[in-house]
């Protein structure tokens, strides 16, 4: 079923011309330093820089590094979602080959590399493990409602946002953090999660809401 790989490329939500114009992708100087992907010391290139090398120069060494960094995490993600070892391996291949083929679509102003890979792996999983479509908006659809000051158009620094989120997740009360991870990594409805934790569904929902309120507050300083 490899032909299905790229049918599930996520589009960044409401990808906006405004954002693209407002902030051209910065030129990355450190890219040249990644020619030896095995190097683990010193100032290692960020995943976004590696991705630029893949997009701009079809840099295989950069791809190898991304594969080593993210392949095992994507595999773990897929296995937690119910894939057996063999299909998780196959799906990792699909996901990483999608990264390679779709490299020019990656927009570091909209998302970090890990976010992009997350959405690719998520969609690939829905397609392959759930055998379902994922309904998504079409940013080009004339029926899409925009505001003159579309909040989805505001430019955020994706790397900065990711840093704030890491810190904010670490500060969540443990039961909220645990719940968030369950919600993202186990392919289960919130009512099933509630049942398994022996909690009322309302408690699960309110904990998720509380967690989101805190994460939002952490991001507010940014946006």
């Amino acid at each position: 079923m490899l032909s299905a790989v790229a049918t599930e490329i996520p589009m960044p939500l409401a990808k906006s011309k405004v954002a693209l114009v407002a902030r051209p992708a910065p030129r990355v100087q450190r890219v040249m330093r990644i020619e030896t992907p095995a190097q683990k010391t010193g100032a290692e290139a960020s995943a976004e820089e590696l991705m630029s090398a893949v997009a701009e120069r079809r840099d295989r060494a950069a791809f190898v590094r991304l594969f080593e960094l993210f392949g095992p995490r994507v595999k773990a993600y897929l296995m937690r979602q119910g894939a057996d070892r063999a299909s998780a391996e196959d799906l990792v291949q699909d996901v990483m080959l999608t990264v390679w083929h779709r490299a020019v679509q990656f927009d570091r102003n909209k998302a970090t590399f890990s976010t992009w890979v997350f959405t690719i792996a998520r969609n690939r999983r829905i397609d392959s493990l759930r055998r379902a479509n994922r309904p998504e908006i079409d940013p080009e659809d004339p029926a899409l409602v925009r505001e003159p000051d579309d909040p989805a158009d505001q430019v955020v620094d994706a790397a900065e946002r990711s840093k704030h989120l890491h810190a904010a997740v670490a500060q969540l009360p443990v039961e909220q953090e645990r719940l968030l991870r369950l919600a993202y990594f186990e392919d289960k409805s919130h009512s099933v999660i509630a049942e398994e934790l022996a909690l009322p569904l309302g408690t699960v929902k309110s904990r998720l809401r509380l967690a989101m309120t805190k994460l939002r507050a952490a991001l507010e300083t940014l946006e």
């Binding site: 095992p72 080959l97 997350f118 409602v145 505001e147 919600a183």
Partner: protein
């Protein structure tokens, strides 16, 4: 005006995580097309997904994994639609000003060509029959019409596409999402002036509770 009634955080989280069944995801995604605020929220939630993925413990790959991938880099990219929502397009790519994607893609040739079933002031079309534990319906309610009072064994999500309606929990117009859980016993009334078109998903059959509930039940089955 952009929507005033949004899906709850739990629905947006489940959408970003990809843990929702397709009927529910369809309501959320169609709301996103009408709601810049929630598009922004989902973008943040996907960023959170990336953060959690980074923190995810690694599962070692099979020995030949990288080698296999490298061997395949020169293969042509598989044929793929420009956008995943296109994949959903079952029959038509026409643009409809009332019905945005992705819902548009589930309706084939357009609203007027659908197989509407009429009953009193209400017309409906069943969608996504392949998800039998949900009832996914497009409904058109005549302006000014009250629907029978009903309650739910499960939850009901309603997205307004045109016109509007009111019930005990508020007034809902285009883009708004109404969430009703089993405790809500409500009687939506369509606004006067324009028929109310909405997408409704219930995850369990409704129970009619009004005085005529039992009488209407076998026919109406909304």
């Amino acid at each position: 005006m952009t929507p005033q009634h949004h899906p709850g955080d739990d629905l947006l989280i489940a959408y970003a995580a990809g843990s929702q069944d397709e009927p529910v995801a369809l309501v959320v995604a169609t709301h996103l097309a009408l709601c810049p605020r929630c598009r922004k929220e989902v973008e943040r939630l996907e960023a959170l997904g990336g953060v959690l993925l980074e923190e995810q413990e690694a599962e070692p790959l099979a020995e030949k994994s990288l080698e296999q991938a490298l061997a395949r880099l020169d293969e042509a990219a598989p044929d793929e639609p420009a956008q995943p929502s296109r994949q959903l397009a079952r029959r038509s790519a026409e643009v409809d000003p009332v019905v945005p994607r992705p819902l548009r893609d589930y309706l084939g040739d357009g609203l007027d060509q659908l197989d509407w079933t009429a009953f009193r002031g209400l017309e409906k079309v069943e969608l996504l029959p392949e998800f039998p534990s949900f009832r996914t319906r497009l409904m058109r309610i005549k302006s000014g019409t009250a629907m029978p009072t009903h309650t739910h064994d499960g939850s009901e999500l309603t997205l307004v596409l045109a016109g509007g309606f009111s019930d005990e929990s508020g007034h809902f117009v285009r883009g708004d999402v109404a969430e009703a859980d089993p405790s809500v016993n409500h009687q939506p009334v369509a606004d006067p002036g324009e028929d109310c078109l909405c997408l409704a998903v219930t995850d369990a059959p409704l129970r009619l509770t009004g005085p005529f509930g039992r009488l209407l039940n076998p026919f109406l089955r909304i």
